[in-house]
């Protein structure tokens, strides 16, 4: 029997062939934590009375959720991380001004790469599956375990095969693909399992769209969502000075389930409250004329250049509806800079959007755009749970950047087709 991508990556790191269902203790390449999850890991580490972490080079610390510090208590959490990084000689601590939203930053800076095994105390750590890495969200105590001994425990997961054909139509991108996939699987349809993407359509999915797709694997409960390493990945890695070998699953690998998706059949999707799996075609939602108060374009899901370019292509020369606030958040300092250079920020400001420094901010109802009771937002983020963006009486609809931008102009959720 051949091997899945997951089995190949894990076997390679483990030094012998591993099988689905097996529990393994494995040294990881990267252990990530943020301003919410790192303090617990650091405290657990201190409790052991060890003086040095196992390997400072494995450790990445990115304060991004409540940064720039929203209040005294969040400032205290970041201070604790900063001091820990200094004391332990951790170089991959990203201070405001050099940072980005963790899952935008790490691939962009070449910190995670194809074939790596990565754990992060953040559920969207699965994002790096786009690079052909095995990366998954864990808890703070798991991260403390890496600080202590460099290792984490894994159950080698069963794999869902997602077979992709065709090419995206106009105004359709990775976000629509993944929302459709989640609605097909349900919010726990991939619980404990990995998803692997395969098929002739893969070559028509850009790197940024792949990040968006892998990012939301967790919204179907998935452990991770992995793309093969092909020319597109190799080009991306090369730009970062990384040489990546091509990697794909064997033809006779064992999958627990198969799903087929035709990119050409997809319409832009909108996930209605209160689950990411509630996605509907835009043509259906548009009829409901859902009025919105706020648009958010950004996050670890859709805060990259492809996303900002897509939003700008819709907003160029237009204005946001006067009853709507639009917040645009570049995912990292580098994305910010490129957006300025390409003139995208001009377009946004001219359209009456507020452009923010990189932060998670409103995505988790943290700061920089929290919703009041009864307010409605359309957002390019990844979760629309009750109260996710603020008051428990507010609502969040999830979409791609083009749909979010078009909705901002119209004042209600609408397709970019009919502007």
């Amino acid at each position: 029997m051949g091997m899945t991508l997951t089995e190949k990556i894990l076997s390679d790191k483990y030094g012998r062939e591993v099988k689905q269902g097996e529990y393994i203790l494995l040294e990881v390449d990267i252990a990530l934590a943020n301003d919410i999850t790192a303090p617990i890991a650091i405290e657990e580490f201190y409790k052991t009375r060890l003086s040095k972490v196992y390997n400072p080079d494995q450790i990445v610390l990115v304060p991004d959720h409540f940064v720039p510090n929203k209040d005294i208590r969040s400032a205290m959490q970041v201070k604790m991380i900063r001091e820990f990084a200094k004391e332990q000689g951790i170089e991959k601590f990203f201070e405001l001004g050099t940072m980005g939203i963790e899952h935008v930053l790490l691939p962009e800076q070449g910190i995670v790469k194809s074939g790596d095994v990565v754990v992060g105390a953040d559920s969207h750590t699965c994002t790096y599956g786009a690079l052909g890495a095995f990366s998954t969200g864990v808890g703070s105590t798991d991260i403390a375990g890496v600080y202590i001994m460099g290792k984490a425990w894994f159950k080698v997961p069963e794999v869902i095969d997602v077979y992709v054909e065709g090419k995206f139509g106009k105004y359709v991108s990775g976000k629509d693909f993944v929302l459709k996939l989640i609605s097909t699987l349900g919010v726990s349809g991939a619980n404990y399992k990995a998803m692997e993407f395969r098929g002739p359509g893969i070559k028509n999915i850009s790197m940024d769209s792949r990040f968006t797709i892998s990012n939301m694997a967790i919204e179907a409960g998935g452990k991770t969502g992995i793309f093969p390493v092909d020319e597109i990945t190799q080009t991306y890695e090369e730009e970062r000075g990384i040489i990546a070998e091509q990697l794909s699953a064997d033809d006779d690998a064992y999958y627990i389930k198969q799903i087929e998706l035709k990119l050409g059949d997809l319409e832009p999707q909108v996930a209605i409250p209160f689950l990411p799996s509630n996605s509907k075609d835009i043509s259906e939602i548009e009829k409901r004329r859902v009025r919105i108060d706020q648009v958010v374009i950004g996050s670890c899901t859709n805060g990259r250049m492809e996303d900002l370019r897509a939003a700008a292509s819709i907003l160029k020369g237009k204005k946001i509806d006067k009853n709507v606030r639009c917040i645009i958040i570049p995912g990292s300092q580098q994305v910010y800079k490129e957006a300025v250079k390409e003139g995208l920020v001009d377009i946004f400001v001219d359209a009456n959007c507020a452009v923010s420094t990189p932060t998670c901010g409103p995505c988790l109802g943290g700061h920089m755009g929290v919703l009041a009771d009864g307010e409605v937002a359309i957002s390019t983020t990844n979760r629309n749970f009750v109260g996710r963006m603020g008051h428990t009486g507010s609502k969040v609809y999830l979409s791609s950047p083009v749909v979010a931008a078009a909705s901002g102009i119209k004042g209600y959720i609408s397709s970019p087709e009919n502007l």
């Binding site: 529990y23 919410i36 999850t37 303090p39 617990i40 405290e43 657990e44 409790k47 052991t48 959720h65 409540f66 929203k70 209040d71 208590r73 969040s74 959490q77 992060g120 105390a121 953040d122 559920s123 750590t125 969200g137 864990v138 808890g139 703070s140 105590t141 798991d142 403390a144 375990g145 202590i148 001994m149 290792k151 425990w153 159950k155 919010v187 726990s188 619980n191 404990y192 409960g221 452990k223 689950l275 988790l364 109802g365 943290g366 979760r383 749970f385 009750v386 109260g387 996710r388 428990t392």
Partner: protein
């Protein structure tokens, strides 16, 4: 190990934003987090006196969403002695094993009603509803997880391991 306590029933897909909303994540102090345990699923729950020693019973996919360990920490610190659900989200399950919050997966939760007193025998894998006398069996954890639990959590396991390597 045996646990006896009062049942508090919740639904399907209870996510970690409901268990401990992001607006309270400015702290990682367990006692502070305990006050807001289940706040957006049932406001005021964490501040009630009668939840100490209680048992949360939920449907499918309990603990889905964010990886925040604050969620099981707040449940544990609030004095909840065990969570029973039809299924748990992966990271939540992992966090519970790592920090030592007992959880039980059962196929059917229909025999549990709000306020029932139930007892759980972890060695025998049996839950008894003291009000109705109904019984339910559950399977044991995989060996690897039993190892972690017997060490009292992941940190102790890790400490033991590095001690072993040094000797």
């Amino acid at each position: 190990m045996e646990i006896k306590g009062k049942v508090f029933v919740f639904g399907n897909d209870v996510n970690t934003d409901e268990i401990i909303p992001a607006r309270y994540l400015y702290t990682h102090n367990p006692q502070e987090l305990a006050k807001y345990c289940m706040e957006d699923a049932r406001p005021g729950f964490g501040k009630r006196d009668d939840i100490k020693g209680g048992i949360i019973v939920a449907g499918e996919n309990f603990g889905c969403g964010s990886s925040r360990e604050h969620a099981p920490i707040s449940i544990k610190a609030a004095g909840i002695s065990c969570v029973i659900a039809k299924s748990f989200a992966r990271i939540f399950l992992r966090n519970c094993i790592n920090i030592g919050l007992p959880i039980v997966e059962v196929k059917d939760t229909a025999i549990f009603k709000e306020g029932d007193i139930i007892s759980i025998d972890f060695n025998k894998g049996i839950i008894i509803n003291e009000n109705t006398g109904k019984r339910l069996e559950f399977g044991s954890y995989p060996d690897f997880m039993k190892e972690i639990i017997s060490h009292g959590g992941w940190i102790n396991y890790a400490k033991n391991l590095i001690k072993g390597e040094k000797e």
